[in-house]
Symmetry: C2
Subunit: 257 residues, 2 copies
């Protein structure tokens, strides 16, 4: 009996309507059977948020491509992974891919990223998982140069898996053919000047998120920010378990009683 | 000139109406001036989600207690921290506390926790930060036994700070006087049987999140799950930077080109 084709589950946070997720599916569909289970509406900045107290719906849409089935869920990227594993896919997927996000998820932005929230969820469930993001926010972003890099990383992870508890956060420079791939660490940083203030027609203020990212270590040459600036694809191995193992002893001597 | 009193910023994810946040404020208000900036509505399971494309409002409410000012934001716990730092507090707070959450944030639940999303945001901004959670979901939970433990941990962190990039995830057993405090690592695990399926009046299915937590290492004696079962307060030092530093070399040899 022939071995079944690999099962590939794909989601994103920009919704089923974003070109990036369909480009991702095209990059990998020669590798196996593809299930796309994506949010019905955009969920950027939703991190690992999940819907705890509202009903979720699954809708299957017609797919125009062989080997791809297409579903939406009226929830977050994490909801998509959880509900897909519970109800939609016929068996545990061999791999989960998320993206291709329209916009960067480098550095500390992994914390806020719905794209990576889904990846961390899959990793927690024991499935090798990779998030892909292009450094271009526009829904008209050009994904052409990303194709070979996405396909190669995806094929490697499908063939060789990933260490337990570790997923990959892949960011791709925009508008250029990347120079290559670099495995690196996330740059430390934070956002600044984060809100624009307005007055509503009644003179009452409201605030809208904006701001700029500050790289707290611009001189470091081993970070994703550095290599993305050098036009490389950055690959950051990312831990599900956030325990600061190196700090356990010193803090135990301070707090244990 | 006298040194100013310490500035303490408090938020949570259960909203300004939850008793836990007011108990937390009572535990620490002898230590400094307290600003509570809390979500106007519950945001459990919102992780580090932020509001990227909608207006945010700040509302100051009357506070019944000396030394406490009380604000709500119509957003997530991370929105509360970001907007508080940008606009509400008079200077950078000396410490940020989040909680006391009505319900556990132990083990992998830190990933989904809005309580801890706010703490990680504060840590990213360079402020010592601690999340407190009681292992009791009810809005009628009894926080009495938590008081001395919360006050002691808060006073220590205010006096001595925390290592850069590390915040604390504190969980407190319910309904008992804790035996003591243990610094420990987060137990690895995942959720199972996560959805209940219903049919709506038209016969169309919908799904509601439920499930049970599976501790993947029930025999380990150095995890938060273990010590909580022994009736200890668990303190997990938690990293903002999720880079899997130990995996960089092996993965570089596989992907770099």
């Amino acid at each position: 009996m022939e071995a079944p084709r690999p099962l590939i589950l794909i989601t994103n946070d920009d919704s089923v309507d974003a070109p990036g997720i369909h480009h991702l599916a095209d990059c990998v569909r020669s590798l196996g059977d593809v299930y796309i289970v994506a949010p019905a509406h955009p969920h950027s900045g939703q991190s690992a948020a999940l819907t705890v107290n509202a009903p979720l719906r699954i809708t299957e849409l017609p797919s125009e491509k062989d080997g791809i089935r297409l579903f939406t869920v009226n929830g977050t990227p994490v909801d998509c992974i959880k509900l897909a594993l519970h109800t939609i896919v016929p068996r545990k997927p061999d791999v989960v891919f998320s993206g291709i996000n329209h916009g960067s998820n480098s550095a500390v932005n992994v914390t806020y990223s719905g794209t990576m929230g889904a990846v961390i969820e899959a990793c927690m469930q024991g499935i090798p998982a990779v998030g892909f993001s292009l450094l271009h926010h526009s829904m008209k972003a050009d994904f052409t140069f990303s194709t070979a890099f996405v396909a190669n990383i995806a094929a490697d992870v499908l063939a060789n898996g990933l260490p337990a508890g570790i997923c990959l956060n892949v960011n791709i420079p925009a508008r250029v053919m990347p120079e290559g791939i670099k495995v690196c660490r996330a740059a430390r940083g934070h956002w600044s000047d984060e809100y624009k203030r307005y007055l509503d027609p009644h003179g009452v203020p409201f605030y809208w998120l904006t701001g700029r990212f500050i790289n707290d270590e611009p001189d470091a040459e081993d970070t994703d920010e550095y290599w993305l600036n050098c036009r490389y694809v950055s690959v950051v191995p990312t831990l599900v378990d956030q325990t600061a193992a190196d700090a356990l002893k010193a803090l135990a001597s301070r707090f244990d009683n």
